[in-house]
Amino acid sequence: MTDIPARAAPTTASGGSALLTLMKLRTFIALIAVLVFFSIAAPNFLSAANLILMAKHVALNAFLAMGMTFVIITGGIDLSVGSIVGLCGMVAGYLVLNGIDLHVGYTIYFNVVEIALITLAVGILIGAVNGLLITRLNVAPFIATLGVLYVARGLALLSSDGRTFPNLVGKPELGTTGFGFLGAGRLAGLPVSIWILIVVALGAAYLARYTPLGRHIFAVGGNERAARISGVRVNMVKMFVYMFSGFCAAIVGLIISSELMASHPATGESFELNAIAAAVLGGTSMSGGRGTIGGTIVGAFVIGILSDGLVMMGVSSFWQMVIKGLVIIVAVVVDQAQRRLQQRVTLMQMAKAG
């Protein structure tokens, strides 16, 4: 999570004003500000139990926001993640309860690990559909993923006729027990979902900084034509980011079903907007080419802590929305100001250099 200044660091390496450094760390400062504010304003805010609870809330949005970050860096957008969350939750719930009926008198039941893998595969597959629509059929990302948003939500509702799959405890004789581990289990005192978040975030940050694929993601977002001429397989890069986004959404679907021990087809509605907000708050540029995983995670924490903290203070949910919106707008305004300042500083450095 100390990753935010990492990508921005090289440009300041040779000095720069204190203000600029402050602005670069703005998301981090915002995070500390909300933490300090709520620890004073809301009782029990800093208790370990509350912090862990909030982290679990934040994790859900953070997963989606990471996938969203890569998509936005390539210059795209993925509106379908909320629906993928819902559909994947239903897939997992269906498999735990019903297995797959082969219509020849047999029904296959999978164990929980297999169910998790199948669910992840479904998420990746839907991401691949997004990717194919965008790369092969040249549908604008906004429209393609909007279409998939409706289709996936519709399928989720169809899978149970709109009902909830309740009571996903499974049957020991079928080996389907233990589904609750993802949502409720703990390892070394931390919830499993937090561990997964840490692993996926480290993996994504590594991918962004140290692999050719990561570099290519930034190149595609910065200048797709130049990337193509440089031999970057633009279509493959785009396929990857949407599939990764689908993968992240599937994780969220699994975790939520596991936490509730039930799958509801409306789960995840409007999650995509929170994910976009977290990415933007973390410094991802909607025009592509800029963004970091670390920044996005911090952005997700700011949004998450803000809403949880306001709930604890008893602020009405209507005001919460107003405040969240203002925070996002301020973040982008500061981002623009930083960019202008950055240019000035660079100019001055060039002038000094001769």
């Binding site: 090289p10 440009t11 390496a13 040779s14 140290y210 692999t211 050719p212 694929l213 570099r215 290519h216 930034f218 190149a219 910065g222 200048n223 034509r225 130049a226 990337a227 193509r228 001429i229 440089s230 031999g231 970057v232 397989r233 080419g289 800029r290 000035r344 660079t346 100019l347 001055m348 450095q349 060039m350 002038a351 000094k352 250099a353």
Partner: protein, 522 residues
């Protein structure tokens, strides 16, 4: 036009300075613009020409000094002010709206409207057509600007400036993307404007051009004016001396090495045009290791398209290519790069660079796999390659992690070249490698080309600059209207023959697809 002394000074900059945060772009420059004459301004990139012109055009305000128009002191707070006083400008960077038609661009902010404020599209297109006809551009006013090639866009930009009916017309590198024929037409238009008493300020890197059409010349170096003369009293040597302080050789000399075996062959490359006809019409050519093959052609001759076909950028192109005698079956750019092809595209900004990434990331973008173990980019190996390339190509950059957009045009071009070289190509395709860069950087680029050919690379380079193609090539191919219309050895090539061949494609179709070799020996 004979009595040069009759040219009244219409605009005068007195002791004008312009300071940007920390840098002095223009230092106490005194510059006179004379009516009915071409006032030439020349200097290396970063010498302050564009800044000086932006001051005249009202885009920038001087930090110190006075602007005298018709003997009265004036100050422009915006380009609108300057336009209102009859000052028009053709900008170096094209300032056009790609999503609008040519006519809409020409009349942008001065739309012709009817009584109710509705834009009168017909009249606009008619009027725009008149201006375009004067430039003999063959551009329909209802085409979208983004559908035009850069050269044509430049013509639109010129038409737009001419349509302002300005008393003072500033042209910043108007010919950088124009073909020889179009340059001629532009010069006719300039002569016409001159005769009508318009004062023209003309900026260009092409010295022959300046000598040909200029009446007064002003040389800038590091923001200072280092020479002011009547053009008839000067020669290119004098200009270059004022510009860079000493005599400079334009082109790196050939070192007399002999080309080796054939390294690249293209057979029967065809690319159909969307609008019918062929953009590349049955072109075949072969290139030897260590050879520089210049492809000369006017705009629209199909040079860039040929390169695109060779790189596999068009799925619907046909034809075969061979490297080292081996048939290349791969049809996509990625794998062709791996097989040893590399392209330096004509349009640096749009196709060459990812401007928000660093110099280092741009340099290694095409060759990342070289620095990868498993899937991990080895930072040390990458930095080492970057440092070496920066040194080898003399890229002027303080820190390779700087954004590439902070470099000057010439250095950006070197980054594009470095990116191609890092892929370890056998055949290098260079599309207008010297476009829009200053004399110093040009010389560097040409020197690099020589060095690469000595190292055994085959170089195909496309240009519309006759001097360049004559000075650098071992052999010269000429393209016209998609066809290969001439192939000359340097020893037997003459400018006249090349120019003649460059017009052949528009004549009646010859019996054989492409007459090759010894075109002018008849």
């Amino acid at each position: 036009m004979s009595a040069a002394l009759d040219h009244d000074v219409i605009l005068k900059l007195e002791d004008v300075s312009k300071v940007y945060a920390g840098t002095v772009a223009v230092k106490q420059a005194t510059f006179e613009v004379r009516k009915g004459a071409v006032n030439v301004l020349v200097g290396e990139n970063g010498a302050g020409k564009s800044t000086l012109m932006k001051i005249i055009a009202g885009v920038e305000q001087p930090t110190a000094g006075r602007i005298m128009l018709d003997g009265n002191e004036v100050s422009f707070s915006s380009s609108g002010d300057a336009v209102a006083r009859g000052i028009g400008m053709v900008f170096q960077e094209l300032n056009l709206f790609g999503n609008m038609t040519v006519a809409e661009n020409i009349f942008a902010t001065r739309e012709i409207t009817n009584l109710f404020g509705k834009i009168d599209r017909k009249t606009q297109e008619l009027r725009a057509g008149e201006f375009l006809d004067r430039l003999e551009a063959g551009i329909r006013p209802d085409t979208l600007v983004e559908d035009l090639r850069i050269g044509q866009q430049q013509l639109v930009e010129i038409a737009k400036a001419v349509s302002l009916d300005a008393r003072i017309l500033i042209m910043d590198e108007p010919t950088s993307a124009l073909s020889a024929a179009e340059v001629e037409i532009l010069f006719k238009v300039i002569a016409d404007l001159k005769a009508r008493g318009v004062a023209i300020v003309y900026i260009s890197h092409r010295l022959e051009e300046l000598i040909r059409i200029g009446d007064y010349i002003t040389v800038l170096r590091d923001g200072r004016i280092t020479g002011q003369e009547e053009v008839k009293n000067v020669d290119t040597q004098w200009i270059v001396r004022q510009m860079i302080g000493s005599d400079a050789k334009d082109f790196a000399k050939a070192d007399g090495h002999q080309p080796g075996e054939e390294i690249f062959r293209a057979e029967d490359i065809c690319l159909p045009r969307v609008t019918g006809g062929m953009a590349v019409d049955h072109v075949s050519l072969s290139l030897r290791a260590g050879e520089i093959l210049g492809i000369y052609g006017l705009m629209g001759a199909g040079r860039s398209e040929l390169f695109d076909c060779i790189m596999g950028r068009h799925g619907h192109a046909s034809g075969e290519i061979f490297i080292d005698g081996k048939h290349i079956m791969e049809r996509d750019t990625t794998r062709r790069i791996r097989r040893g092809l590399a392209l330096i595209p004509e349009d640096r900004q749009r196709e060459g660079l990812v401007s928000i990434l660093s110099v280092a990331s741009n340099l290694t973008l095409a060759s990342l796999s070289r620095f990868v173990r498993l899937f991990h980019i080895r930072g040390g190996a990458e930095r080492q390659a970057v440092t070496q390339m920066v040194r080898e190509l003399a890229i002027k950059v303080a820190d390779p992690t700087q954004e590439v957009s902070s470099l000057s045009g010439g250095n950006q071009q070197k980054v594009v070249i470095g990116k191609a070289l890092l892929t370890g190509p056998k055949v290098l395709l260079m599309d207008e490698p010297s476009r829009g860069i200053d004399v110093g950087a040009k010389a560097d680029v040409f020197r690099t080309m020589r060095k690469l050919s000595r190292d055994g690379l085959g170089i195909l380079f496309a240009t519309s600059d006759l001097d360049e193609v004559m000075a650098l090539s071992d052999r010269i191919a000429v393209m016209s209207n998609g066809r290969l219309t001439g192939m000359f050895d340097r020893t037997e090539a003459s400018e006249a023959a090349i120019v003649a061949a460059s017009a052949l494609g528009h004549g009646p179709a010859p019996a054989h697809p492409a007459p090759v070799n010894g075109e002018q020996s008849r």
